[in-house]
Amino acid sequence: MAFFLEALFGGLMAGMLYSLVALGFVLIFKASGVFNFAQGAMVLFAALAMARFSEWIPGWLGLEGRLIGNILAFIMAAALMFVLAWLIERLVLRHLVNQEGVTLLMATLGITYFLDGLGQTIFGSDIYQINVGMPKDPIFLFEGVFEGGVLINLEDVYAACIAALLVLMLSLFFQKTGTGRALRAVADDHQAAQSIGIPLNRIWVIVWFVAGITALVAGIIWGSKMGVQFSLTTVALRALPVIILGGLTSVPGAIIGGLIIGVGEKLSEVYLGPYVGGGIEIWFAYMLALVFLLFRPQGLFGEKIIDRV
């Protein structure tokens, strides 16, 4: 039982991070109808920027403290994500307005490749560390209930708290601010939003920026866990089934879908893996998504916007 709980918690933590990446997908899809394949590349790019800036900035300014360096690096990386969002809107999306979803998907594939190349050209292609001072000690829970307790990484708990905080802030931003209301209006109906004077182009920049920030947070959490490296981009591929499961247009869906996929992957790997030779977490999520596509294409919480054939 303790072993089961450990696997469960491990899955939940991994799922939390999938949710963060999936959140970026959902935000952009809701606001602009673009299925942003580049979210994974944005995670890598943001994480690289964060890792390298936190190395460089103390050197440039002659600062000592790690905290101030990290804060400045975060601000710089966020600014970079804003520039990126602006450039993507300006150079790509603006020219592809009203194109089919598939064309836009392929355009984001192009952006993915470009960002992968650009990030590694500017920031280098080694493995970098992000150290934001998250504690790495393991802790034991429920020691009274089970023999030996349940082992949990404190870092994961912090990561989960940060992710929850981000989701909270995002929902506040969407529900309580004017910009958030404009974003929701655009998500509801592009034309209606435009006709009452909401500038679509600016909204797209904002939403790509917000997705960039979630990518940055996801990148920092993953990066401090396993180092910033090229394999971060595969995280995005792991997060694709999450949005199919949760529904492309649903923020709660992205979160719950992420948790389900994270737990499902872990438990299936632990309990089914040994029978089929291991490594099934690579495709487990995709098979789950395939089943959903066949029987419930709108996902758990999504709207039925799929045009049936």
Partner: protein
């Protein structure tokens, strides 16, 4: 002036419906094929065969397959690498496990199994399309990557996980030197390109295009979406599977699942986008472009760097390659969605009325 169809009168339906209605086109294509079959083996050296010509031929075959699905039928696929893998591994299994199995039927069997897998993973296309379908085909990619890595049966239980073939021969003709390999691939590509070209001109090809342009309208005029889509998946994955078999048997001769990873799928999709969606000719352009560009950059960038006094590392070259590919994809999608093939046909159109454009 010299490229003009004036005076070429079609006196029978047969004449009217040939693949290249203009005589000059026919001559040029015949000349190109003849040169590829006779001239190139005499002129090219081993490096050219190994690094450029053989990969180009095989990848253009695969690109034709992808183009049938993506360009003609409008169903996006990110799992082409998986279908190539199925073709390669199943061809390997039929070749190794069945005593005295000839090479060509083994490759075709690989294509047949790729067809089966393609149809199975094409079934979601009956309910969903676009981005959703992309995820379904990604499922094929990841599942096949895993299956060929972990299930021992596919690799004949080799300890290293990589499989290899040797002593390839067709009816006593031993395929050994690069030139022979090249000719073998060329024969496959010519036959399959001809088949594909005729297929997309036929009733079934028009059904695919109708589905691509507007599926509801196509269904209204009596095209069965299920039949059209699944046939596109079947034909496309058959061709991709055969290309995968060639890639494994002829080009690599010893391979691992990583040879058919998701990067291969993206590469094939890029060939189709850059070459031209919905064009057999475009598949060749796209394949040529994507095979040659990295080699060109590898030579050119260090040279350009040395001009301005910079030393360019291999890593930098590969990153630049990523950036150029990404930028080109976006550029083509915005500026010329029909790719290089469209530029080609524009050039031909200009040439037809040259030098008196009015």
């Amino acid at each position: 002036m010299f490229y003009r169809e004036n005076g070429q009168f079609k006196t029978s339906y047969r004449n009217d419906q040939q693949i290249f209605p203009i005589a000059q086109d026919r001559w040029v294509i015949l000349a190109i094929v003849a040169f590829a079959a006779i001239g190139v083996p005499l002129l090219a050296d081993e490096y050219l065969f190994r690094a450029i010509l053989i990969p180009f031929l095989i990848l253009s075959l695969a690109a034709i397959g992808v183009n049938i699905l993506v360009g003609y039928c409008g169903q996006i696929s990110l799992g082409s690498g998986a279908f190539m893998a199925v073709g390669a591994y199943m061809a390997y299994n039929t070749y190794v496990r069945i005593e005295g199995m000839p090479l060509i039927p083994a490759l075709l069997m690989g294509g047949f199994f790729a067809t089966l897998v393609g149809v199975v993973f094409g079934i979601p296309s009956l309910r969903v399309k676009g981005l959703y379908l992309a995820v379904a085909t990604l499922a094929a990619q990841f599942f096949c990557d895993w299956a060929f890595l972990r299930i021992g049966w596919f690799t004949n239980n080799t300890a290293s996980g990589s499989v290899s073939v040797s002593n390839l021969s067709v009816m006593g003709w031993v395929i050994n030197t690069p030139a022979e390999k090249y000719l073998f691939c060329l024969a496959f590509v010519v036959v399959f390109a001809l088949l594909a070209k005729n297929l997309v001109r036929s009733a079934i090809g028009r059904e695919w295009m109708a589905i691509r342009d507007m599926d509801v309208a196509a269904a209204v005029i009596g095209i069965r979406p299920m039949y059209a889509k699944l046939s596109a998946f079947a034909v496309s994955s058959f061709i991709i599977g055969v290309a995968g078999g060639l890639w494994g048997f002829i080009h690599l001769s010893s391979w691992e699942p990583a040879a058919f990873s998701i990067d291969r799928s993206f590469q094939l999709l890029f060939m189709v986008i850059i070459g031209g969606m919905g064009s057999i000719m475009g598949s060749f352009f796209g394949a040529a472009f994507i095979v040659v560009l990295p080699i060109f950059l590898n030579q050119f960038l260090p040279w350009a760097g040395s001009l301005v006094g910079l030393s360019v590392s291999t890593a930098a070259v590969s990153h630049t390659e990523f950036m150029i590919f990404g930028a080109l994809i976006v550029w083509f999608l915005i500026v010329e969605p029909h790719g290089l093939a469209k530029l080609w046909s524009i050039a031909k159109q200009k040439l037809r009325i040259w030098p008196f454009p009015h």
